[in-house]
Symmetry: C2
Subunit: 449 residues, 2 copies
């Protein structure tokens, strides 16, 4: 029977859930409640807009009217869902109450900002929404010196974007490498070198201590030193937004996100909760690389999860598979990509990994325009199962990281992957033996020695 579905949140997870529910049941009644003023845009594209390579108009795909007219999906923008009553099955937003048969919570994450002085000064930003982006754009007119706090991929992409508009950019990172959470030290070192050669300053092992200024930011203090700037962007990582899940008493996992069933339903004191589904940055999911939980705070993961949450809210019982969480980022002239286990994650799980590495070219050696590419693949030491991969390249990292993600997701050993893998070849697009195969050969060799 057609259901009344309420979705809280209009990010990639929420919007995909809405479309997916509509596709599954043309008769369901779908309402999205969101604090945001724009919907259906790509937050990942914001650095490129700020750099001038794109525009706000272009990255916002549709306005709320489109969804209302074309898909019969109602969107309440600038509307905060204050609370949920799971017994009465209703959401309170402002003075109004909205009844549901199925509820999807897709409220995403919040940028973690360290609890220090000065974070409320003018010129201090985070980056999640188009509104954030426009505020940063306005501030760019007032200053030439920018500090990015946090050297994750979003921080680095922002650093390059602002550098390319002529700003003097300093990146300040608490850990001792860039992209500390998901990239290995060797890959990160190459990215750091590339950024420094562009003229971007990088300060590592420097926890941010204070933002200085009167009304407006004047400098940031980190590890005892002051860095003058007129703008600070905190890109210090995203934490699950647990406001509603905590209110509802849902179980929170050890990664600080909501534990969900394969159908994306939450648990309350260990018991499955019916008629509520979660998708996006606020859930913990199952790793494809090891039997354990992982976080997958990626746009592509939000879409994958949202599609399942939407179907299930509309009456299906689709299952989310485990995740390798492949990611890619373009940092200046380099692409860095990863999937599955990094060295850091392996430590967290307590497992031992063996690595294979190969360096090659994206095109035949003699073909014009080929770029250097480094592929690293790792296997779990006892099972030989492929559990992770990272790529650093001038181009063509994406197809390869998807390819290696499938290897992780299928649970294949390094030896099987080597025996069962082939590559297409044409001089202007590839080498006769792909660098992925060379890396697997090295891995198999290292596993046996």
């Amino acid at each position: 029977m057609a259901k009344k579905i309420i979705i809280i949140g209009s990010g990639a997870a929420g919007m995909t859930a809405a479309s997916s529910a509509r596709k599954f049941d043309s008769g369901s009644d779908i309402t999205i409640i969101t604090e945001d003023e724009d919907v259906a845009y790509s937050p990942c594209a914001i650095p490129w807009v700020l750099e001038g390579k794109n525009s706000w108009d272009r990255i916002v795909m549709h306005d709320p009217e489109y969804y209302s007219k074309e898909k019969n999906i109602d969107i309440l923008t600038r509307t905060k869902a204050d609370s949920v009553n799971a017994e009465l099955k209703e959401v309170s937003a402002g003075s109004k109450k909205y009844k549901y048969d199925s509820l999807i919570i897709a409220t995403g994450g919040k940028v973690f900002i360290p609890p220090i002085n000065g974070i409320d000064l003018e010129g201090v930003f985070t980056l999640r929404t188009v509104r954030d982006g426009k505020n940063i754009e306005a501030c760019m007119k007032k200053t030439d010196r920018v500090v990015i706090a946090g050297a994750g991929v979003i921080g680095l992409e922002m650093a390059v974007a602002l550098h390319n508009t002529g700003k003097k950019v300093t990146i300040i990172e608490m850990m001792d490498q860039v992209i500390p959470r998901i990239a290995d030290r060797d890959m990160a070192a190459s990215i750091q070198k590339h950024l420094e050669e562009m003229g971007i300053e990088i300060v590592l092992k420097a926890p941010v201590e204070e933002v200085l200024g009167d009304k407006t930011v004047r400098a940031i203090k980190a590890a005892g030193k002051e860095y003058p700037c007129g703008m600070v962007i905190f890109a210090t990582g995203v934490r699950a937004n647990l406001d509603i899940p905590k209110e509802l008493g849902f179980d929170i996992g050890q990664l600080g996100a909501v534990t969900v069933s394969p159908t994306l339903q939450p648990y309350k004191r260990g018991r499955l909760v019916n008629d509520i589904y979660l998708a996006g940055d606020l859930i913990q999911c199952q790793s494809a690389a090891v039997p354990g939980p992982t976080m997958s705070q990626l746009g592509s993961s939000a879409v994958r999860q949202g599609a399942i949450a939407g179907r299930n809210a509309a009456g299906d019982t689709a299952m989310l598979g485990p995740t390798a969480s492949p990611w890619i980022s373009v940092i200046g002239d380099l692409q860095i990509a990863g999937t599955g286990m990094s060295q850091g994650l392996a430590s967290w799980y307590g497992i031992s990994i063996v690595e294979g590495v190969a360096e090659g070219l994206t095109k035949a050696r003699y073909s014009p325009g080929g770029k250097k590419i480094i592929v690293k693949i790792s296997a779990e030491k006892s099972s030989h199962r492929i559990v992770g991969a990272q790529i650093l390249a001038g181009e063509d990292a994406n197809g390869r990281i998807n390819w290696l993600s499938s290897a992780i997701l299928s649970g294949i050993t390094a030896e099987s992957f080597l025996a069962l893998t082939e590559n297409a070849y044409c001089p202007p697009t590839s080498t006769v033996k792909d660098v992925v195969l060379s890396a697997v050969e090295d891995l198999v060799h290292n596993l046996s020695s």
Copy 2:
């Protein structure tokens, strides 16, 4: 114990076999006997040299002296292996005899030329070696009108190369589509349109009947019509070179190539032959898509097979896995790639396939420079196993076809592939949901309806 290894043939299979044997046993005695004058070059690159985008110097990687000095591998160039005596374990070449412990036959294929009048005229060529390429280059100075007989990928790549040097090019094909052996009709039609828009003439359903001229070619006659030209290049398909295998009485499979064991040894009246290994265009191998034989006349397959033949000749017993035979070609501004089963091959095997198709972009819709991409994936109707894929795109086909090849090689169903597959996303390199996933969704939908 270190073996005396003779390799007949210096193409990708033979050269890789030599390096692989050397790597497995530094003490083995390795000699290559080849009719060719150049070794260690990429024949696939010849069209790009003729177009002026590359040079003979650059596409020949090493000369024979390099192998002698650096790898202790002797190469006898311009030397024809006349016969093999498997009882005495010796190869006769000219007046000399060469003893072996292990023999590798890597004599590749021969371009099939129809038995018609005029094929010996000046200006008639095939394309296998650098020598062939240089002969074509010399002839290019004498004529502006070229006919390519055969619309396979080599024929089409040559057509574009010669067109780009200012020649008037006509392609004459016996079948009713371009790339008839491995590409589906829909993909082929797009390639044909692209070539015609460039100004290349294509004549289908026209078997070549005669090459006309006195000493030098003046025209070619096909399906009753004459096409004036000063050069004809036969790119009419490659047949296994069976001279030595037939002399030795090896079993020939139904595809007209040598039947080999998984260790790449031939059979003689159904019995395994010891101490002889084959690799490259002259063998029939096992398809990864269906339980049946296939041909894999690709440079990348020759390298894969050569590596195993070399190891085994040196004393190992490595096994060649089944093949999806992924291929890719760049035709003007388009890339066309395929793997596993085409519609034509499916008919030959007598199986039914179901297809899923999706069209998308290589980058986020709003990112500059994204190109159109069409992905088609097919599954066997009863098992739902993924058995084939084809891609037509402005860029980035290679990584995706390798990815889909792994899906075929791992024997996964469309439903499993859909559940277990993820993609990395960043606006300048990809879309949030890859077109490969959209194609698999369509496939799963079509399988269930």
